[in-house]
Symmetry: C2
Subunit: 420 residues, 2 copies
């Protein structure tokens, strides 16, 4: 066996030397290195560089209203042109980072783990300091794993076939298993697609770990593509236009087309039906979609999770939007967004839909948002309206803003509350 290993190692080295497509060089350095105290050391070889920095969400949060999108720290040149930076001990979490070499952003060439968010890749590293911190749930556990499939379904409402990601829990495919499972629909935000929750969101790993620890019920998780003009994520359909922000125009809105998703899932998987076995949640645009889909289908979902949601109520008398202040970040002017409380009071027809949702007595209506999220006020206004109408919901408020760190936390939390 040793001989064989040696042979294949030699073969691979040789392949590397000849192969035109193995363009990279081995970096021969370790980065990132998670240290026993939870600190992380980043390293990059750049002998000719004048200035190397690292930026990442392990750095202190950006104060509300600050204009700097990110903060950076200088790395220090050590031996052989290797630049280095070690963080303070970090809480268990999944962290994203990137280097900047003399003004040019780049990923960590020593780290094969990375994530795409909209059109930007970042290197990632998971820190876990104990068995209950978030990092623990985002890691691949030493547990049984569910299968993850990229599945095409027909959407007559949108006039196209479309791709979604379906997680089936470990054991689902076991021969002779006739068990039916509840379904959790999980929706992404603007710029995302059917890969967002499974990759950035670590959804399959979270669910594997929660199920293995008995904290979540085994369920089927369906991660859709919420852009009505898109068949699939960039690079997964024939459209050459790869701008992930181009949502395209469908015949219908995605929420209007949602019965097509459910019809496919309920006819192709062993699904427990009924509100007690059907949950939906989503982040940002997907939180807005969750709001709209549940409002369009009162009584259909027993568990509704509205994360950092872009909430909008159709205006009965459309008003021109308030002019945005010169120099203010786009969308960052909270006053420019229509007030959800007022909107619902002014649109009794739409408000009646929400009343129907609550009158159907969902087992859980869950609202979560970060304290510094730019959509905070909309969520607060919606809660104000729910309170005024005496509708019960569960509310989770976390530090930070409109970030994946929060959405992974919310899924980990919400996933433990559904189907119970």
């Amino acid at each position: 066996m040793k001989k064989l290993l040696l042979f294949f190692t030699a073969l691979s080295l040789c392949a590397g030397a000849y192969a035109q497509q193995a363009l990279g060089i081995s970096t021969n350095i370790t980065s990132p290195q998670v240290n026993p105290d939870g600190s992380v050391t980043f390293r990059l070889r750049a002998p000719k560089a004048v200035k190397v920095t690292v930026t990442g969400d392990f750095l202190p949060s950006i104060p509300e209203g600050a204009t700097d999108a990110t903060t950076t720290v200088d790395m220090v040149e050590k031996e052989n042109g290797v630049w280095e930076y070690t963080t303070v001990p970090l809480p268990g979490e999944l962290y994203s980072y990137a280097f900047n070499v003399d003004g040019v952003r780049m990923l960590d060439p020593s780290n094969i783990f990375q994530n795409r968010d909209i059109s930007t890749y970042t290197s990632i590293v998971i820190v876990s300091r104990n068995d209950s911190d978030p990092g623990h749930y985002y890691k691949v556990g030493k547990v049984a794993h569910g299968n993850v499939s990229k599945v095409w379904y027909n959407s007559p409402a949108l006039g196209i076939t479309r791709r979604m990601t379906v997680y089936t829990p470990a054991g689902y495919e076991d021969l002779g298993n006739k068990t039916k499972y509840p379904v959790l629909y999980v929706l992404h935000g603007a710029g995302g697609d059917e890969n967002a929750w499974s990759e950035l969101g670590r959804a399959a790993y979270i669910m594997d770990n929660l199920i293995a620890e008995g904290k979540a019920k085994p369920c089927i998780m369906v991660m859709t593509n919420g852009n009505p003009g898109q068949e699939a994520a960039p690079g997964e359909w024939a459209n050459e236009q790869v701008d992930p922000m181009n949502r395209g125009g469908g015949r219908a809105s995605f929420p209007e087309s949602f019965p097509d998703v459910m019809k496919y899932v309920e006819s192709h998987y062993r699904v427990l039906k009924g509100a007690a076995n059907t949950a939906i949640c989503g982040l940002s645009m997907g939180g807005g979609h969750t709001f709209q889909i549940s409002n369009l289908n009162p009584g259909k979902f027993g568990y509704i999770g509205v994360f950092s949601a872009a909430l909008s109520v159709p205006s009965v008398n459309p008003q021109p939007a308030a002019p945005r202040q010169q120099g203010a970040p786009a969308g960052g002017n909270r006053r420019a967004r229509p007030n959800v409380y007022d909107g619902l009071n002014n649109n009794p027809e739409y408000a009646a839909r929400i009343k129907a949702v609550f009158n159907a007595k969902p087992k859980l209506y869950y609202i979560a948002i970060g304290k510094t999220d730019f959509l905070y006020d909309s969520s607060a206004q919606y809660r104000q309206w729910l309170d005024a109408n005496n509708f019960k919901y569960e509310y989770k408020e976390t530090p930070g803003g409109h970030i994946w760190r929060n959405w992974r936390l919310y899924l980990t939390d919400f996933g433990q509350k559904v189907f119970k």
Copy 2:
């Protein structure tokens, strides 16, 4: 709808400004740009850089015996610190490339398409100049797509559960479809895993396109992990050690464990059984595995594809390997590899297995290799033995070496020949 788009664009810009995880900046330049004549323009913004180069397999091949692993060309600084290089018109192909800024390798930040090969990412671009060139088959076609699943199966022979990639052709999941399909097993090389063929190999797109054009029969394609100590690709199992070259040691070899794969596939999918409906192919180490698996199971596979194979015949009287010349690339000394022709003549017991394979009259025994592949001689020696024994095979020889470009070509070719 326009208003909604504007809203979500604004939301996204804002999210970018606040989100700690959207670390990147929009590059606002187009790269790569495939021009109408088939040339490609690469661009990178690096205002402070002194020297920027691009390397990629669009450049001339490396002469046999050259010590330079890759060639590079200088990019030229244009306006606003944007560096640029335009290739000559290129044949239709999938090309890999990377930039180098003052000695630091980086990917193209304007291009969201990239591939991982062993531990190295490269940016990719597909050129297609007509509907029959290789690039045409590697693109996502405007055709019906098969589903692609990451599936865990139990391997008693290896003592672990393991992950594989399963492609089911478009229509497989249609309600009421009771059709059974033939199965093509597709094996990766050293340093690869169950993601290699579906990502680097473009296997699902190739099969989608071939099936849609009536050039391949709809089939199930099973892409295994051939490293017996690995449960799955790096980052998809709990092992913290991410070295993709670490194949680990299993209880058995992967070829010995292959019946576990087939047992799972044949019990979980609608599979046509028998040699006429069972094909296997693989590249490099996977070509060696294909050779070994077919030899272990004569009569089981009607179609056998041995691509750029690492062939080895167990030695009856093990000899110490010839010492490697100082400074020679590891494994690059052709004389150091045992002669396959001699090996088979000296090991009648192993040769009898191959004879049993051919005596079972496979419909196709297909051998393919690049003219400058470092494994060329082994393949030639094997063909010499097959010729001496009057065994019929189909042989394809292409330019170039031990590269994915060849393996995609071979799968495109082999895929049109199986199950017919």
